[in-house]
Amino acid sequence: MKIKVTSIYVDDQDKALRFYTEVLGFAKKTDFSQSPYRWLTVASSEEPDGTELQLALNNNPAAKAYQQAIFQQGQPATMFFTDDVKGDYERIKARGAEFTMQPTDVTGSTIAMLKDTCGNLIQITQLKSW
């Protein structure tokens, strides 16, 4: 078994695809549809065959309640790792994203948090070298 894909719920898949590619800088990986179901994933352009992030349409009331609750608590729905959190912060901010936390030192890492415009907070993490 391999961990090949992880999922995030989004309220609009087209809007999410724009945000995750044009603002965050990921690349579209797979996009196909069966009837009303659409399987849509992105991957990092630094690692095209790496783990994919599925942008799953949130049309499920239970998932919606969960998504809203963790958003209101300020918890990220997922996190990405970088070697340069300050550089990514400047780059992503310049493309119009709204950060709820500037790069901040915490135990073991520096983190920043932004809104993905699709109902989620996203954390960007740079691990400290020890």
Partner: protein
């Protein structure tokens, strides 16, 4: 030979698309030799739907205001959506949503037979696939109501079916769009 082995879908026909910006509507028309009442039952009754439709329903779609769970057959992860029937004028007009798609069915009397029209707003990159899928579903429905059932052909069963690929290409050509990349690369490699 079984009824299924004898079955070959005809050429792409009876489909149009209407473009309203990003929103495209697929319109499929099929003339059937069956009465509107018979077709209405096949469009609304869960036991009939299971024999031909690309989704299962956990209740009848024949009453306005009813909430029904629709399960997409063969989706890559379990896909269940709840719908409320917004119009059910038996045996003429039926409207509900399937996931994000509007579904409008119209049944016109042709003196014993019926002209069946479906309007549905499939995402435009997948609209030829939708037309190919519904084409086969309508054939399966026709066989079912004629008493020569060939069994439901939906989801992976449809895409494995050689004629589905042909219909997809024919409809894409008729609509003036590119054939979507199908099957996706990952599936081709396995």
């Amino acid at each position: 030979m079984t009824n299924l082995e004898r079955y070959t879908p005809g050429p792409a026909s009876g489909a149009q698309i209407r473009k309203d910006g990003e929103k495209w509507t697929l319109i499929l028309v099929r003339e059937l030799r069956h009465s509107r009442e018979k077709i209405w039952e096949a469009l609304t009754d869960p036991a009939h739907l299971r024999e031909w439709a690309p989704f299962d329903a956990d209740g009848s779609l024949g009453t306005v205001g009813t909430t029904v769970k629709l399960t997409t057959v063969g989706a890559p992860v379990p896909h269940v959506t709840e719908t409320t029937v917004t119009r059910a004028d038996a045996p003429k007009v039926l409207e509900y949503k399937w996931g994000g798609f509007n579904m409008r069915w119209e049944l016109e009397d042709l003196g014993g037979g019926t002209r069946l029209t479906l309007w549905t707003n499939i995402g435009h990159r997948f609209i030829s696939m939708g037309a190919a899928g519904w084409h086969i579903c309508f054939d399966v429905l026709d066989h079912l109501l004629s008493g020569t059932p060939i069994g439901r052909i939906v989801g992976p069963e449809a895409t494995k079916f050689g004629d589905w690929q042909r219909l997809n290409a024919e409809y894409a050509k008729q609509f003036g769009i590119e054939t979507p990349n199908w099957p996706p690369k990952a599936a081709q490699n396995s």
